[in-house]
């Protein structure tokens, strides 16, 4: 349930950007959940619900997309996906859930064996955009 801490971060950020008393002007908040961190979407949504309690904005404002995790070797430039990568057990998955960078201790480039790689996509929780009623989307670059 450390998903709640991340949901808290999302709501705090939105409040920071539009002002605490201003949440009613939110049209859509796009959130991206990276596959690597393996966030439980249900728990995350429950977390959001908790954090929004008593605030002028409902859960329906938050749109959540999943992003596939992608890796790229800094040595030989091979790219690979999480899906199909072998030999990551329960404990490793749990460690990565807490701290996606743990993946660097447990993965190597499937082609050259290098431990020097980049998480190119799908790491963790990001806010893609915050759209306000009657305005164009802001904060997406």
């Amino acid at each position: 349930m450390h998903e709640w801490a991340l949901a808290d971060a999302v709501v705090s950020t939105v409040e920071e950007k539009v002002g605490k008393r201003n949440l009613s002007i939110l049209k859509e908040v796009h959130i991206r959940l990276g596959e690597l961190q393996n966030i439980d979407r249900e728990i995350f949504v429950t977390g959001l619900k908790m954090m929004l309690r008593g605030k002028q904005c409902g859960l329906e404002v938050f749109k959540i997309d999943m992003e596939e995790a992608g890796f790229k070797c800094n040595y030989c430039e091979t790219e690979w996906k999480l899906n199909g990568y072998p030999g990551i057990g329960e404990d490793e998955r749990e460690a990565i859930h807490f701290l996606p960078e743990s993946a660097h201790a447990y993965m190597q480039c499937p082609k050259c064996g290098s431990s020097d790689f980049t998480v190119a996509a799908g790491r963790g929780v990001l806010i893609e955009s915050i759209e306000l009623n009657g305005q164009e989307p802001t904060y997406n670059d």
Binding site: M1, H2, W4, A5, L6, D8, A9, V10, S12, T13, E16, K17, R32, N74, D91, E94, A95, F98, L99, P100, E101, S102, H104, A105, Y106, S115, D116, T118, V119, R123, G124, V125, L126, I127, E128, I130, Y139, N140, D141
Partner: protein
């Protein structure tokens, strides 16, 4: 794209009275022994104490304290590991044990930010942050993300160490960051570069700790460490530290 994590770092630390960042710039001067034993002494005095090992590649506080690490519990966030000595402990080793962790800077920042954003620190009198050597992501991110903090500088007596440490002192002062003082560790009588530096920069020399050959036999055993000479000397330093402010 907005990273939501930065907004909650202060909130996660709001119950922490003082955040003490143990730094040096130089490696092998005793930052980790200092941090670990200072945390032990603080907890022994009944102060609520946290210890955050931010040296990802060289995490060693768990080795010094002789603690078996394991994945932490989670409630509304990550709960620090409560050690038998009473210290609330977080380290990368909780997640990756003794595996090598080759991280580039971007990953290091991500990892630090993640730990700061999801760890729920309870009420603490002191959070001691143990930094790796260098002036890279770890110290720059601590400066960037944590507003309320103070630095303790550890240096050995050697010119090789002091000259490198001086660069960090320089940087911290040029950025107007609060330095509580300098600790000289593994002190050699023959040279006085550290006290010269402390004068030059107008920083208190918090204490001088000799080299104790027997420290090695205390490594990995919190009880022995608490009873040893290193702790005895450190206690004087820490006492001052606990008094400041």
């Amino acid at each position: 794209m907005i990273d939501p994590r930065t907004s909650v770092v202060e909130k996660r630390l709001k119950n922490v009275k003082r955040i003490i960042v143990v730094s040096s710039g130089k490696g092998g001067v005793g930052k980790s022994v200092f941090s670990s034993v200072a945390a032990l002494l603080s907890a022994e005095k009944g102060l609520k104490t946290g210890l955050l090992d931010l040296d990802f590649q060289g995490s060693s506080d768990h080795i010094i304290l002789g603690e078996k690490v394991s994945l932490p519990e989670e409630s509304e966030g990550i709960c620090p590991l409560r050690l038998s000595s009473g210290i609330d402990f977080v380290s990368f080793s909780l997640f990756t044990g003794e595996s090598p962790l080759p991280l580039r800077g971007k990953d290091t920042t991500n990892a630090i930010l993640e730990l700061l954003a999801v760890t729920i620190w309870k009420e603490l009198d002191f959070l001691i942050v143990d930094l790796p050597p260098g002036i890279g992501e770890e110290i720059l991110d601590i400066i960037r993300f944590i507003q309320r903090k103070e630095f303790i500088i550890v240096s050995s007596s050697s010119l090789v160490s002091v000259q490198v440490v001086e660069r960090l002192v320089n940087l911290l002062q040029s950025m107007n960051l609060p330095v509580t003082g300098i600790v000289e560790n593994m002190a050699m009588d023959s040279v006085h570069h550290v006290s010269d530096m402390s004068e030059k920069y107008g920083l208190p020399l918090l204490g001088t700790i000799p080299y104790f050959p027997e420290l090695e036999s205390e490594i990995g055993d919190s009880k022995k460490l608490l009873k040893g000479n290193f702790a005895k000397y450190l206690n004087a330093v820490v006492k001052n530290m606990f008094k400041t402010k």
